[in-house]
Symmetry: C2
Subunit: 419 residues, 2 copies
C-alpha cells in the first residue's frame, strides 16, 4: 500500500512517524525541504534565533524510518477519481491512501494590496523579511535628517492580537528597550513606539478572561500601546488608519489572520471559511481513502466550535489519520477523531506568559517557565534543543540577540544605490 | 578630528578598535550591518554553520566604544579634493582622515557571463546560495527520471585550488559521503563526484611544497578528484570544458579569484591588478590623510611580492593606519608599515589540515586542531564562539550538519511552479 502525505508540518510529520512500523510505503511531499517549528517563528523575526535553530530537514528527521521517501515538490492539484496527486511540474503520483496536511497561509481579508506593505509571519522567509525590515528601520532612524521622519521610523505597528501578534509586539518592544539601547549614537532606541491593534474587544481570544486581562496588563507594563476594539480601516506605505485616526509608522506587521491553502478547493467538498469540512474520522465525504488534517481541516470539537489551527490539534489529527490507515490495512473500520485539549500558552516578552493547562491557569514567571520547557521539549532534534537553550540563556542574561543580520540580495549584483 | 572608515571587515574593524582611546570622532560606513568572519564562510556553504554564527552586527561589536558611529550605507565615490565620501544616495560625509578598507569581490577574469552559472563564495548571500544549490542538486537527483541526469546532478565542480576551493571541495565531499548517506532512498549520495580544478601546477599556491603535496594527498584520500595544470576553457549551464574535456556537472562553483572593489578607481592613482599601490605608510600618493588597507591595498612585503589578501594582513594594516592617525594628532610623522607573518592555515575536511606557522609546518590532525583553535579564538564575540564550538562538536561526533535549509523567496508569493 502506498500512502502519500502532503505537507511536512506538525500534522504530516506526526502521520509519517505514526506509520513507522506499518507495512506501507510512504511518500511525504513538501514544497520546503524542512519542517518548521512555527511556534518560535516570532523569535526569528525578533532576531533571537537563527532560521536553522527552528527548522530541520524533513529527510534528516525521518532518516531512520526506511519506509518513507521524502520529495521536495509543490502539489498543484489532487485527482480524487484517479487517486493521484498532481505536482506543479505535471508529474502524477498515485496513492492508495492520502493524508493532506498542507496547512494555512496568511490572510488579508480581501485586502491583498496590504500584503506588500504589511508583511506577515507565516514562513521562515517571512520571519527573515520582518527581521530585516525592523532592523533597517532603526538603521535609517539613526541617520534620519528630520525629527518627524525619525519618529515615523521608530513607530512599529502590529495588527492582530492573537498569540502571534502578542508575541511579536512583546519581542519588538524588548528589542527596542533593552537589546539596542546602547547601540546607537543619534537616536535613543528606547523611544520607539510599539502599537498592537486588535479589532476585537480583547487580546488572545479563546483564553479565559483572567488570562486575557493579565496578558493585556503585562503588554502595557512592557511598554506596548494596545488598541482594542478598533478594526484597521486602511494601510498605506507609511500610515495605518484605525478608528478614524491615522498612525504614521515605518514598520507595519500583519498578524491578523490565516486561511487554508487553495489546495482545499481541489476536493470539491463543502468548505468552512476555506477549510475542508471533514467526516468524524477526518476523511472527506465520499472518499474514505483521503484524510485531511491540521489547519486545512474544519473539525468541530465537543463544544461545537471548530478546533483551532494550532500544533497540538495538527499532531493529534496526523496520528489519528495514520491509525485509520493501519486499521484499513487490518480490514478494520475507521475510528472517529477526538481532540484531547492539553492547554494553551502564550508568552509576553521575557519572563512573562499566560498558560491554561487542564484546570490550571498560570501567569507571570511560572507560566513563562512552563512555556519555555514545553517549547524546548517540543522542538525537533537534540541539536536544536541545545542551540535554542544556549541562545535563550545568552539572550536572557545579556539582553543581546544572536541573529541581528540584515541580509541582502546576492553579493556582487547589489545595485550601488541600495540604501 | 573626524575619522571616516569605509568598510567593517577585518581591516576597518581593527582600525576602529585601535582608535578606541583616541580623541577623535569616528564614522564607520559599511553596506552591510554586520562584520563577517570570512574564513568560515565555506562552512555556511557546506551547511555546517548558520549565517548568524559567523556574522555579528558591527554596531553591536562597537557598542561600548562611544567615539564610533556606525552607518549602514553604500559608498559610491570619494572626493579627495573636497575631503568627502559620497554615499550612493548622493549625501556627502566630510572627513579629516580617511581609512578605506572596502575589500575585494569575486573575479571571473573577463568572463562575467560565468557569474550566473558558477556562483562564488565571497558574501553571506553567496554562501546561502551555494548551500541551496548543492542541497537542491541532491533533492533533484533523488527523483531524477534518467541515470544520466542523476549522474550529472551528483557531479560537483569547484574551480580554483586556493584555500577557499580546497575547503569547499573538502566540505562537499564529506557532505556527500557522510552527512547525507542515509537520507535518500533512490540514490546513494556517496556516489557523488566532487572535482577540484586548478589551472596552476599545485593546490594552495604560496605554501611550502611539502604542505601542498600533503594537502593534495589528503584531498584525494577524502575522495576529491583533483585536476591540476588545466585552465577552465568554458562554462555553460551544465558543462565545464577543461583541457579539451567536457565535464557534465549539476553544480559548478567558482573559487578562482577575487579583485578589489571598483572604489579603488576613485583615487586616481596607479593600480596593480585593481589594487591601490600605497606608500610605505599605507597612505595614497599625495594624500597623507587617506590610508588604504586590506584587500584593496597593494603593499609589497620584505620579499618584494604584494602581501596576500588575508585577514592577518588586513588587521595589521588597519591597526597601523589607526596608529598613524594618532601620530598625526600628536604632531608626529607617520611610520612605515611592516607585516609580521604569523603563518598560514588551510583545512581539508574534517580532521585534516596543513599549517605553516613561523618555522613550523604541521599536517593532519595536529594542524587541524591548531586550525580549530585559531579560528575559534579569532571569531568575534563570546556567543559566536560558544555556538560555533557546539555546532562543530555536534557535527564532528554525529557527522550531521546543523543548517541544511533550502530557503526560497518570500512565502505566499512562491509561484506554484517552483521545482
Amino acid at each position: 500500500m502506498h500512502v502519500v502525505i502532503v505537507g511536512g508540518g506538525f500534522g504530516g510529520l506526526a502521520a509519517a512517524r505514526a506509520l513507522r512500523r506499518a507495512r506501507v510505503r510512504i511518500t511525504l511531499i513538501d514544497r520546503q525541504n524542512y519542517h518548521l517549528f512555527q511556534p518560535l517563528l516570532y523569535q526569528v523575526a525578533g532576531a533571537v534565533l537563527s532560521p536553522a535553530d527552528i527548522a530541520a530537514p524533513i529527510r534528516s528527521i525521518l532518516r531512520r524510518q526506511r519506509n518513507v521517501a521524502v520529495r521536495l515538490a509543490t502539489v498543484a492539484h489532487i485527482d480524487l477519481a484517479a487517486k493521484e496527486v498532481i505536482l506543479a511540474d505535471f508529474e502524477r503520483v498515485a496513492y492508495d491512501r492520502l493524508i493532506v496536511a498542507a496547512g494555512a497561509r496568511s490572510h488579508y481579508f480581501g485586502h491583498d494590496e496590504w500584503r506588500a506593505i504589511a508583511p506577515t509571519l507565516k514562513t521562515l522567509e517571512d520571519a527573515v523579511a520582518i527581521r530585516q525590515r525592523v532592523l533597517l528601520a532603526f538603521e535609517k532612524a539613526e541617520w534620519a535628517a528630520r525629527d518627524a521622519e525619525r519618529r515615523r521610523l521608530l513607530t512599529f505597528v502590529v495588527i492582530g492580537g492573537g498569540p502571534t501578534g502578542v508575541e511579536l509586539a512583546g519581542t519588538l518592544v524588548e528589542l527596542a528597550k533593552h537589546t539596542l539601547q546602547r547601540d546607537f549614537r543619534n537616536i535613543d532606541s528606547r523611544t520607539a513606539r510599539v502599537l498592537l491593534i486588535e479589532a476585537g474587544p480583547t487580546v488572545l481570544p479563546g483564553l479565559p478572561p483572567r488570562l486575557q486581562e493579565r496578558a493585556l496588563r503585562d503588554l502595557r507594563d512592557l511598554g506596548v500601546e494596545v488598541m482594542l476594539g478598533k478594526p484597521v480601516e486602511s494601510i498605506t506605505a507609511n500610515t495605518v488608519v484605525v478608528g478614524g485616526d491615522a498612525i504614521e509608522a515605518g514598520t507595519i506587521l500583519w498578524a491578523a489572520g490565516v486561511k487554508p491553502v487553495p489546495l482545499a478547493e481541489a476536493f470539491g467538498v463543502p468548505l468552512d471559511r476555506g477549510r475542508v469540512v471533514v467526516e468524524p474520522d477526518l476523511s472527506i465525504p465520499g472518499h474514505p481513502e483521503v484524510a485531511v488534517v491540521g489547519d486545512l481541516a474544519c473539525f468541530r470539537g465537543d463544544d461545537g466550535k471548530p478546533l483551532p489551527g494550532v500544533a497540538p490539534v495538527a499532531i493529534q489529527m496526523g496520528r489519528h489519520a495514520a491509525r485509520n490507515v493501519e486499521r484499513a490495512l487490518a480490514g478494520q473500520p475507521p475510528l472517529p477523531f477526538r481532540y484531547h485539549d492539553r492547554g494553551t500558552l502564550a508568552t509576553i516578552g521575557r519572563r512573562r506568559a499566560v498558560a491554561w493547562i487542564g484546570r490550571w491557569q498560570f501567569t507571570g514567571f511560572v507560566a513563562w517557565v512552563v512555556w519555555l520547557f514545553v517549547h524546548l521539549l517540543a522542538i525537533v532534534g537534540f541539536r536544536s534543543r541545545l542551540v535554542v537553550l544556549l541562545e535563550w540563556a545568552w539572550s536572557y542574561f545579556t539582553f543581546q540577540r544572536g541573529s541581528r543580520l540584515i541580509r541582502r540580495e546576492r553579493s556582487d549584483h547589489t545595485p550601488a544605490g541600495a540604501l
